[in-house]
Amino acid sequence: MANVAVSSFSRGVARSALVAALAAVFILFAALAPGFLSGANLLSVLVNNFALLAIVAIAMTFAVSAGGIDLSVGTAVDFSSFAFVSLVLAGQPVALAALGGLAGGALVGLFNAVLIAGIGISPFLATLGTLFVGRSVQQLLTNGGNPVYLPPAGVPEAFRFLGQGTLAGIPVPLLVAALVIGGAWLVLSRTRFGRVALATGIQASVVRYSGLRLPRIAAATYILVSTIAAVVGLILTSTVTVYIPSSGNAFLLNAIGATFIGTTFDPHGRPNVPGTVLGVLLLGIVANGLLLSGLNFYWQQVGTGLLIFCVLAIGFANRKAAGRA
């Protein structure tokens, strides 16, 4: 009984490490950074530092849940962006162009699905390969990597809506992110697919011996990951009205970081949507707070890195302690 009490206590600490870190940085910046607490600033944190990364990180959470990883999430963002811009330039209606963008992203997932579920390559290597191939394909499509601009005059108003519009006073990117987060949470924690993906990540052979088809689960997972990431391609393009080849990779490492920071939120260390969201929030607040604190701009990255490091260290140390108990 004593053992049980100790392990549940240490799990409690592990659980709160992320929340505590979040609370600590929030209070710290509220005290130190002028303007941090203002409504406008907090909103800008959510729109600029949170929404897009959150969506990519949610996509990553699915891959990690199923026991894999997707290094090509950025490629899906790029392909979506490219398809979207190209279709709009070709005079297609914006809605159709957006669907085309999603399809472009999903294509990357399909490629991964063939490699992982069809051939049986490990997700890390498969998606690393996809990342490299995707980079070259984009270079080829853009004459060696030239950005594709939309002429300011010719952009339909609807095009800007996704990235720059508001609905009931709330920025659309934030609404989309909320929608994706809510949906992903439901799918991962409350649906059959989510449960099976999670079980696959934990012990694939049991899933197979339970009469479920592993290749199908993997294929569905990686197509879903890319499709979610494709949403970011649409928002990003709509915000900046330009497609820059291979720009989506900027999200990759932070998305991985946020997902794994998020695992420390779960008592059993499983990847989970709320944890990932908190992880992204933590990264966003730190980036914004450091900026406002008037500290050297470049300390931002150091601070963020240190913070990720500490949360991971505490989380893993606790898990180790819990495992020993």
Binding site: I69, L115, I119, G120, I121, S122, F124, L125, A126, L128, G129, T130, L131, F132, V133, G134, R135, S136, V137, Q139, L140, G144, G145, L253, I256, G257, F260, N296, Y298, W299, Q300, Q301, V302, G303, T304, G305, L306, I308, F309, L312, A313, F316, A317, R319, K320
Partner: protein, 359 residues
């Protein structure tokens, strides 16, 4: 009458199904490995893969030497070697971590902080040099920086128990940030006698960096492939339980591999300062190409495991590819596509061949 355990005969005999007609010869065959057929199959597959990789390498060299006359000159080959030195040192550092950590890239050995390490070490070198310190201080500063980063990785992985992928990812962020802080995201020019020597040409018109790469590879390969230390490093990575059973301190080896790769990052930093006459931004872009290069290197080894010489071949392969494309006026950005396709091809081939063997 005896009791239940008497009748538990599980695993007493491991006889494969043999048709009755074959029974007469069964006794003599007892010691022949039952897996002789599949083993031959796998050996053949391994040979084919390795031969295939070498053939592709040679094929590329031949195509370039035919289409680009300048390609096969001593000067050009020396250039490629020199240009590959930085990536080569980094890839070798990564290879050491992969050997000691095992080939599972997520839970096994990987060091994502290597490229950032190079950037910071270079910045430290350039900053020290600019502040008027001598070559010795600058060199010590750069190598010390690399080693310190390696030590942090080692502690995070072996003491805190963070999986290497994440530990080194976090360290990468910190290190890249420190580089920005140190350089304010600018180019820090550096010069000095030592740097000039490094960046100069050596005997036969081949750059000093080229000799350096070859010498470094030779030294590390000697340690990793030809000493007990290296053998143990492989055991630790390939089968930690076996290493433990042989009395080897697994964690110490893993920690050591991160220190070694940290040192490689520092060395690469010095080379990059000499090559670029200072420290520049954007070191992080080297990361994924280096990872791919190190992973590709396994096809150049007899047992399809990461080796130092295999990594060197892989580095040179990429170097020649970039060089050839340049000579032929083909966009060198295609190199990343070729690399990506190659890695997919290689891994698919190993997976499919491996699967056939299991059936």
């Amino acid at each position: 009458m005896s009791r239940a355990p008497m009748r538990r005969f599980a695993m007493l005999v491991d006889t494969p199904y043999i048709p009755a007609s074959a029974l007469e010869v069964e006794a003599q065959k007892a010691f022949e490995p039952p897996g002789a057929g599949p083993t031959f199959g796998r050996r053949f597959a391994t040979l084919a893969l390795r031969g295939g990789a070498l053939a592709v390498f040679l094929g590329v060299l031949i195509v370039f030497s035919v289409t680009a006359p300048f390609f096969l000159t001593v000067g050009n080959i020396g250039n490629v070697l020199g240009q590959s030195a930085i990536a080569g040192v980094l890839a070798i550092g990564l290879t050491i971590v992969i050997i000691a950590g095992g080939s599972n890239v997520v839970t096994g050995g990987i060091d994502l902080s290597l490229a950032a390490n190079m950037g910071l070490s270079a910045a430290v070198y350039a900053t020290l040099a600019q502040a008027g310190h001598g070559d010795g201080v600058a060199i010590a500063g750069a190598l010390g920086t690399g080693l310190a980063i390696g030590a942090v990785n080692a502690a995070a992985v072996t003491l805190a128990g963070i999986v290497p992928l994440l530990a080194t990812l976090a360290v990468m962020n910190v290190v890249a940030g420190l580089e920005l802080v140190l350089t304010q995201n600018t180019v820090v020019p550096a010069s000095g006698a030592f740097l000039s020597t490094l960046s100069a040409g050596g005997p036969f018109g081949i750059p000093v960096l080229a000799y350096l790469l070859l010498g470094f590879t030779l030294a590390v390969a000697a340690i990793v492939q030809y000493t007990p230390l290296g053998l143990r490093l492989y055991a630790v990575g390939a089968f930690p339980d076996a290493a433990r059973a042989a009395g080897l301190p697994v964690k110490t080896f893993v920690a050591g591999s991160f220190l070694a790769s940290g040192l490689c990052g520092g060395l690469a930093g010095i080379l990059s300062v000499s090559y670029l006459s200072g420290s520049t931004t954007g070191a992080g872009d080297m990361l994924l190409p280096v990872v791919v290069t190190a992973l590709l290197g396994t096809v150049f080894s007899r047992r399809l495991v990461p080796t130092i010489t295999g990594t060197l071949l892989s580095v040179l392969f990429v170097g020649f590819l970039i060089n050839g494309f340049q000579l032929l006026n083909i966009s060198s950005t295609l190199v990343s596509g070729v690399q990506g396709l190659l890695i997919l091809l290689v891994v698919s081939a190993t997976t499919v061949l491996g699967r056939k063997e299991n059936v």
